[in-house]
């Protein structure tokens, strides 16, 4: 059954903080709910109904394509995202954050041996660390 888009789920007579008019008779709300739906239903003609729909991958592609095209604020955000990712991967990761073990050792055996060396003190070493941190 079609329900008008402006009709609340429960009756207007029941006091509810979600309704347009505050229950306690407070200040007038800033706008009156409009009865018109935001978009009238599209009437498909007989020809439309007979025309084959595009394949699912095509429809998905168009969905994303049209979505990105209609972005406004999102475009600026995507630019920032790409700049951030570029700086992180092309600059920071490449020049300043190499994976220490991956770049210095060629296999897991060597990496394990290196870490084991780090975990076990040198026989001649002294424990002369600074007091506290």
């Amino acid at each position: 059954m079609h329900r008008p888009s402006f009709a609340p789920l429960h009756g207007r007579s029941r006091a509810c903080p979600l309704s347009a008019a505050p229950a306690g008779g407070g200040p007038v709300p800033d706008r009156v709910p409009t009865p018109a739906p935001s978009h009238p239903p599209v009437k498909r003609t007989m020809e439309d109904r007979k025309a084959p729909r595009a394949a699912l991958p095509v429809r998905i592609y168009r969905f994303y394509r049209d979505g990105f095209r209609q972005m406004t604020v999102g475009r600026t955000l995507w630019k920032i995202i790409f700049i951030k990712l570029f700086v992180m991967f092309a600059v920071l990761k490449f020049f300043f954050f190499p994976d220490f073990l991956a770049t210095r050792f060629s296999d897991d055996r060597q990496r394990a041996d290196y870490v084991l060396e780090q975990l076990t003190p040198s026989p001649q070493g002294s424990r002369n660390l600074a007091q506290g941190e």
């Binding site: 739906p37 999102g74 995507w78 995202i81 660390l129």
Partner: protein, 512 residues
């Protein structure tokens, strides 16, 4: 090697991780919390068909998207730091973290990202039901992402389901379910999620309060507040309960952390909970100075209830945990260091025997290592006092978090009360205060992580790997350089990104 360690490098590496993690955590709780609030707004729109609810939902969805986009990739830096600054740690936990982080990346992220696009692009293009489903899936996906990261962090605090393999120098997972569903992990997830809901609710409250103060978008603001405050009440109660449960878990597996954030230097029977106090910055675990300066307020016996679920229980203090307490059957760091050094010595002997090809000797030393391996981390401490984390920072962070967390439900109740009376827009004092509550929520949320991570010191993995061993052997200058780079880069990005958010807030929801 340990003896050539530059402690300055360790501290700069810790500082860098803290900086980048806190930057990441500016955006994550809002994503986690606002995604659920958005799902409720969207549900109300679909149930009522009211275009005002659609306008409201689209507005908050836009802000959600901005926050999400800003936060994208902030977590990647942390992964970079693992490989560069914390190479030993990264290698040693690879087997444990591999599964949770892989699940997070493959499952949760794709779920979130797929439905994210449907949520934003789907208005008038997909059915209302599927569109609503997508919004709920974004909330679910965000939380599922959080699960696996929090499981990984929980394991660092309470390393269960593993066994250290000296052959590979790795902690190897023995029981995935034990890791994924450890009580520590479950509490950490529920607490992080519910507290993030608070952050989301207060974000809505703050912006809506600002609109009401300016007499703009009044209906939208009121409706937003009512739903957010209602959810906020439930989130507050849940956060308090699971926060208490988290404290109980901490008392069982990280008693030093609890002692630090309560400023409990000497263990006590019937210990009281500190409601207010100024910790003595000069106090050390081995001296007899007063733990607090001036006035301090304790709630009697409550700490025992929180820590052990018993009003009459003994709660160990930092001194007990450093030097031991035979009367209470407590091993201190002193005793654990003795066993830990045996573990390290056995590990070294195993290494040498393996190098020499002496399998029999290697097996013997391996057996000895296994006898003491649960104290491995203590074998690397130089002094037992190193087992004490930064007390002042832990104490203040905990009390700021709890104090604000206690305030938030009162704020939500006040908003709902005046909204019910229909006089909310007239309460300028409440609305004015409300505009800053989001920042208070951020402070509380960050403070919680300070408690978790500073209270964990000196451990990267509780009791098994101190930060001094977890790090890569780099120079201090290397880490300093990247620290200042991050500071500059993130500050610039934050200014640019927040300006986008502020602009959209000032524009407000789209007009019909």
């Amino acid at each position: 090697m340990i003896e050539s360690l530059d402690l300055g490098m360790v501290n700069w590496a810790r500082g860098q991780f803290a900086l980048t993690a806190m930057y990441h955590w500016i955006f994550v709780p809002l994503t986690l919390g606002l995604s659920w609030i958005l799902a409720f707004y969207h549900t109300i729109y679909v149930r009522t068909g009211n275009e005002e609810w659609k306008r409201l939902t689209k507005f908050w969805m836009k802000l959600f998207g901005i926050n999400f986009a800003i936060g994208v990739a902030t977590g990647l830096i942390l992964e970079f730091e693992f490989g560069t600054n914390w190479a030993n740690y990264s290698w040693m936990v690879g087997d444990i973290f591999g599964a949770p982080l892989a699940i997070e990346g493959i499952f949760a992220f794709f779920l979130e990202a797929t439905f994210f696009a449907v949520m934003f692009f789907g208005w008038n293009r997909v059915s209302k039901g599927f569109h609503l489903f997508a919004t709920w899936m974004v909330a679910v996906g965000s939380s599922l992402s959080a699960v696996w990261i929090l499981v990984a962090n929980a394991w660092m605090q309470y390393p269960v389901g593993q066994a250290f393999n000296p052959e590979t120098a790795r902690f190897e997972m023995q029981n995935f379910l034990e890791v994924a569903f450890s009580p520590y992990a479950v509490n950490k997830f529920t607490h992080a999620t519910s507290s993030s809901m608070l952050v989301g609710a207060l974000f809505v409250l703050s912006i809506s309060s600002w609109y009401l103060l300016r007499g703009r978008h009044v209906l939208m603001a009121k409706r937003s507040i009512v739903v957010a405050a209602t959810l906020g009440i439930f989130a507050s109660v849940f956060t308090i309960f699971n926060g208490d449960e988290s404290a109980y878990e901490i008392a069982q597996v990280q008693p030093m952390k609890l002692a630090a954030f309560e400023g409990l230097w000497e263990g006590e029977q019937n210990a009281g909970l500190v409601a207010f106090g100024i910790v003595n910055p000069e106090k050390k675990v081995y001296d007899t100075r007063d733990p607090f300066l001036g006035f301090n307020l304790h709630i009697p016996r409550l700490l025992g209830l929180m820590a052990n679920r018993s009003l009459d229980s003994y709660v160990p203090g930092m001194r007990d945990l450093v030097y031991g307490n035979p009367e209470q059957d407590l091993l201190g760091a002193v005793q654990k260091m003795d066993r830990g050094k045996k573990a390290v010595a056995s590990l070294e002997a195993f290494k040498e025997a393996r190098k020499a090809g002496d399998q029999a000797a290697a097996d013997t030393h391996l057996a000895s290592f296994n006898q003491y391996k649960e104290f491995l981390g203590y074998g690397y401490l130089q002094r037992p006092e190193e087992a004490v984390p930064p007390v002042a920072l832990s104490f203040y962070a905990f009390h700021i978090m709890v104090g604000l967390g206690t305030l938030f439900p009162l704020i939500f109740l006040a908003y709902l009360y005046f909204a019910k009376k229909g006089t909310l827009a007239d309460r300028k004092w409440l609305l004015g205060f409300g505009t800053i509550t989001y920042f208070l929520a951020l402070i509380a949320s960050q403070a919680g992580w300070v408690v978790a991570e500073v209270g964990r010191q000196p451990w990267t993995i509780q009791g098994l790997l101190p930060v001094t061993v977890a790090r890569t052997n780099l120079t201090t200058a290397t880490v300093q350089t990247t620290f200042y780079m991050f500071l500059a880069l993130f500050t610039l990005l934050l200014i640019a990104e927040i300006s986008i958010m502020v602009k959209q807030i000032s524009i407000g929801p789209e007009e019909n």
